[in-house]
Symmetry: C2
Subunit: 747 residues, 2 copies
């Protein structure tokens, strides 16, 4: 259990204690990031909401306003007992911790706390009146598929679960999101960008903990060998039983209890549920194995011999850590600095569903911000301190309270958010998400509770976005402390440290094992280099232990890597001396914002899905111009050759400003063609009509969201659409510059 | 053997024959693309040149001018016998083909032809006087490593051959190259961009031919199991022996012969060399196995059961082919259209060396241009027809002639280049390469000879760039005909065709197997769908064959996918009728330009590597501003706090225009800091000096290539550097706008 986290829970109203003095050593293990960080609400709300078709469309604004106004007296009255039930356990946990109660007691209480939280959250969402919350997922997914935003990979071969191809629309939108990300983070924050290998040798991922711990529990059909993710299997079974009229009430209650607590279950817990309820393979009815850990990395081998094991990277972060030394050098040895990477990650999910939300191959954007562990302030924090975020703190969650709006300055001052750097990134993440089109009313930061935290993390806030699948974790902002650098230092024997000049020099006692290089070289030959490196790395205590052994038994054993050698008396001399040091070495801490591009894209698409007032069939995406896959359409009012010279002039104007366009000169009414371009989220439409031919040539420009139009010269159209697309100019500004065009009709 | 190619060779001086009538069916197999397409010169020149340190630096211009002027009488005199020797075999092959000689005879002659070509090319390069061709590869590689353009992946763990990480400089440069690629191709040519999965099921790559044929020959140490690429092993052995004074002259001659012909060797050829010269493992001296085929794809498995085999894609192209149907629909059913993809490819090379030139993981940019096989004209060809390219045609190669400069219009008119679309792309490729900084004097297009062509290709031109490793193939422009779409149609059962309206409707005789759906469904249940689909796909001949069987024996067997069913008499009825059809279906041809970004980047870096006149230590990269990783530096003349407000104003001006910069306010002379920024290819340097403080604030702007400076207002600096960086404005234009600044000294 991470004592740092508990420290915060216990003292979350005491703001004056310096948090940096708390030891970060005992990092709590948890299977892996993405899996853990899902809010409890997400998992079992998704199925419920899918059926009910919750949220969005017609009254999109109202739902989020509604959630904000939940504190209205009537609703609060209904929620009060549930809030109290959560708080009861929050208080219990605090007192258990104060009394230093056994870890198992605390863990059990946490599981119960989370179950109560889940009940509260479900009730909150259920209180949304049915008529304000309708989202037609079928129509939404249909439109995405039809217009090839994205779809299952290798569909003509039956498709592969968890793999998606982005078609022209999805690909362009993704490229725009990534470009904006690069500007917003790498350029504006002067980060170093790197691009590292996907293929990763086993040794690297052994050091990072992924080989041993990056896994999910699965059960196997004992006859066919078919595999199921254990928690999903139990969930599906329990849901089905709860719906079944024939299930006795007491069993239903028991299974509801299981559903509430499932997220906290380990293998033994799950096995006992499977045994107790006699759960069989849902496909064959055969017996199932006990839960077994299944590593989620894709294995492969490098080279022809077959014995160089490797994996596809499960995150891009490791590529940055192993390059730390070069990057620090590149930054002229100075801290802090941030390194970013955009690239693919791979996770061999046992049975992925949920489209872009759970993929086996996905695009990540990750930042590793290296910082002095004793000084996590940020030079630009002052500039953002008044920025408001919706924070769902660990305390709020334990007390059964709602998320609260708060300035980041206050949150850091009150130690709710661990440090300025974490806080600064939370603001930057928020700005980015809103800029690309996430509805700020459906965006919150939720702090991880202790048993959700990944094995390397000591504080973590997730940017969660509310979609029809519930709250989805889309960005994690974690303080990974120095976990990774320390692990790679140990495993590789390479020092991954920064240096800090001391305010005044200090005298240190050095105890050093000076090797007899000739003797060691003679015996160990090629191995000698590694042995010497290891000797150099030994701490004073370790050297003294070696010395003791040599004195007592005449030789000692030295471990390096996976190997061991025997060193004789004449192989080393122990030297003691005083040294004046002016600088000290330390492992930097890492603050890591990590973005799942697919999930964010899904959320943006859902938040932009619209229907024209009064016309159920006219569905479209109201995308921000800056992320829209194509910036404008070119539509001649009729398929007439006489328009070709004007269209050519328009195309060349657009090309001059690198504006992407789609020309639709097919037959069909203008209104129908508008509808077609609206459906792929094209924000601006250029129409050539009969008035266009009068010198100087003009065209009309239509904004898809409002359907308003202006008229402007062909020679102005490139720059205007470019400025509108990059959002240097707003539509309102364009309307002030150019005369309005009253269209005859939009159909 | 590809009859199309031979057709061209036989008739390469006859220009009036319509090439489209030649059947494309019998596509010749060749192991795989990148491997084959290396020019023969590349392979064995690389070692020679590495040692001699050929090409570049001081007199970079002269070497290419030199190569161009090789036709000078003295040199031509020396080359004449070698050219004649090549031509002799070129003529021989033509006459063999005319006489319909056995394929083995032709193949043998081709091997000899290539050996003679290689001898000629080596002589050509050797004739470059030593003093004009010096390229210091060590210094070049050192600078790249030191400034972290790129370096071995996982270096702290010892590194992995064939895997490289791009550091901040390399990554930014790569991103710029790709952005430009996207503008130059996707945007300007209105292509559809897609982004498909790397993980690819075995069935897909089985259909594409990669599972069976994408391999290299390797030999194993019979005791240790260590593997060597057979051709590399022989090459290294032969080279070593040839250098050895003790090797008898006749053996040397024999081995030189082997080196010349090695590229054309199959497994038996290589085995006989190994046996004859008693070649052993170079590491242990143990016996070696016979050459065995090693598939170059990285294998993995998807999902937990371990029986869903998959590979990492060896090229991005397949992702486009399997999405053909959706893409055609997206394009409203119209041909031609082009689809592009930018992404990673993976090849498990047996023993990669050569840095970025042979990688196990690499970035590709590929375009698949789908076109009617009977009309490969291009609407924009007219615009480029006068563009000159250096073409090294198959005929030139067979005749021992030099590459020749020719307009693409003439080349297509003379049928040297197969069609307008191929020619149009060659021009676009050339423009792109020159735009990003490839020296046009070291760039040529070489046509593939028949036995180099990949198994799917019917005509191919490589853009080859001359570097210190010889001519490197960086872009392949291939006509893949309809190979891939046909293969995937067959394997998936999905029709991957386009439709063409006939000029007049025609009457066709239909013979159809009408299934008894109820009966088939009852017996075959879930399988029924596939059976019905297969029945629908049968040709008239196949239906008649089934019918015959049913009549004679009462039942028939139908194969679908890997399975087979028995159909009884009452399962199908054969129906015959006439049908008037207005359109016909066909498999489109594909023209594919395929870019290896790593190789191109390497070439650009080599072509930009410079040394300051008179100062051997001042090495730098003269990169085009548009690809430069960082656009400008900010250098205060001294580390003085009073400059901070001006620097802040400069930074904010730059940010306004999204210009990347690097600030260097470390101590050290200005000259030294300039040198540091020059070394990472920063084209523009902004200096704040004591004059800067006079209102309105000004700065100096320095261009790294010429070291000239101008002085301009801080308020102008953002727009100016942005325009210079995007090459909207040239340095000369900037000099005309702003006053010259005479610096005191650059050191």
């Amino acid at each position: 259990m991470n004592s740092f986290f508990w420290f915060r829970l216990l003292h979350c109203h005491e703001t004056l204690i310096d948090r940096n003095i708390v030891p970060l050593a005992r990092l709590f293990y948890n299977s892996h990031r993405y899996k853990q960080v899902e809010s409890s609400s997400e998992k079992d709300l998704s199925y419920r909401l899918k059926r009910k078709g919750h949220f969005g469309k017609k009254n999109r604004e109202r739902i989020s306003t509604y959630l904000y106004n939940m504190a209205s007296p009537e609703i609060e009255k209904e929620l009060a007992p549930l809030r109290a039930a959560v708080k009861e356990y929050g208080d219990l946990i605090r007192s258990l911790k104060e009394k230093d109660a056994p870890k198992t007691d605390v863990d059990r209480a946490v599981v119960e706390l989370k179950a109560r939280k889940k009940k509260l959250e479900e009730r909150e969402l259920a209180l949304v009146p049915k008529n304000v919350s309708f989202f037609d997922r079928l129509k939404f997914e249909d439109l995405l598929k039809q217009r090839f935003f994205y779809d299952k990979s290798f569909a003509i071969y039956g498709g592969v679960a968890g793999l998606y191809d982005f078609g022209p629309m999805g690909c362009a939108m993704k490229a725009n999101m990534i470009n904006l990300w690069r500007n917003h983070f790498i350029l504006e924050e002067n980060m170093l960008e790197v691009d590292c290998s996907v293929l990763t040798p086993e040794a690297v991922l052994k050091a990072s903990g992924h080989v041993d711990r990056f896994s999910d529990w699965m059960v196997k059909d004992l006859k066919t060998g078919e595999c199921f993710r254990a928690d999903h299997l139990i969930k599906n079974f329990a849901e089905k039983m709860c719906k079944d009229m024939k299930t006795p009430a007491n069993v239903k209650d028991e299974l509801k209890e299981v559903l509430m607590k499932l997220e906290g279950f380990n293998d033994a817990d799950m096995h006992s549920v499977i045994v107790k309820h006699n759960i069989k393979s849902p496909i064959t009815g055969n017996e199932l194995s006990e839960p077994i850990a299944f590593n989620l990395m894709f294995p492969t081998v490098i080279g022809p011999t077959g014995d160089f094991k490797a994996y596809l990277r499960p995150e891009t972060a490791q590529g940055i850590f192993v390059n730390f030394k070069r990057l620090l050098e590149f930054n002229q040895g100075k801290l802090p600095f941030a390194v970013a990477q955009i690239g693919s990650g791979f996770r061999n999910e046992i049975s992925p569903r949920q489209g872009l939300i759970r993929l086996r191959e996905f695009t990540m954007c990750e930042i590793e911000h290296f910082v002095d562990p004793n000084n996590k302030s940020h030079p630009k924090f002052e500039l953002v301190k008044d920025y408001n975020l919706v924070l769902f703190t660990g305390c709020n969650q334990m007390d059964g309270m709602q998320a609260q709006t708060m300035s980041i300055g206050d949150a850091v001052a009150q130690k709710l958010v661990a440090n300025e750097t974490l806080g600064y990134y939370m603001v930057r993440v928020h700005k980015y998400l809103v800029r690309i089109g996430v509805d700020p009313q459906r965006l919150r930061f939720r702090q991880h509770m202790a048993n959700e935290m990944a094995h390397y993390s000591c504080d973590c806030w997730d940017a969660e976005i509310l979609t029809s699948c519930g709250w989805i974790e889309c960005v994690g902002v974690a303080d990974r402390a120095c976990y990774d650098l320390v692990q790679h230092s140990k495993a590789s024997g390479e020092k991954l440290v920064a240096e800090k000049v001391l305010s005044e020099p200090k005298i240190v006692q050095v105890v050093e094992a000076v090797p007899n290089k000739a003797a060691i070289g003679k015996i160990y030959k090629a191995e000698a280099k590694q042995i010497l490196a290891k000797l150099e790395q030994l701490s004073a205590e370790e050297v003294e232990a070696l010395e003791k052994q040599i004195i007592s038994v005449g030789s000692t054993r030295l471990q390096y890597g996976n190997k061991e050698v025997e060193l004789q008396k004449d192989h080393i001399t122990v030297k003691r001396y005083e040294k004046k040091v002016y600088a000290e070495e330390f492992h930097p801490s890492v603050i890591e914002p990590s973005f799942g591009i697919g999930r964010i894209m899904y959320s943006v698409l859902e938040h932009s899905f619209r229907q024209r007032e009064g016309d159920e069939q006219r569905l479209y995406f109201a995308l921000r111009p800056i992320v829209a896959p194509i910036k404008c359409s070119i539509l001649p009012i009729s398929a007439n050759l006489r328009f070709e010279p004007i269209m050519a002039a328009v195309r060349s104007e657009l090309a001059k400003f690198s504006v992407s366009y789609r020309q639709d000169d097919s037959s069909g009414s203008l209104g129908r063609r508008y509808a077609r371009t609206d459906a792929i989220g094209i924000p601006f439409g250029i129409t050539i009509d009969f008035e266009s031919e009068a010198e100087p040539w003009t065209v009309t420009l239509r904004y898809s969201i409002t359907m308003e139009q202006i008229r402007l010269k062909v020679s102005d159209v490139g720059k205007t659409v470019a400025d509108l697309s990059s959002e240097i100019m707003s539509w309102t500004e364009a309307q002030q510059t150019y005369p309005k065009f009253e269209q005859k009709s939009d159909s």
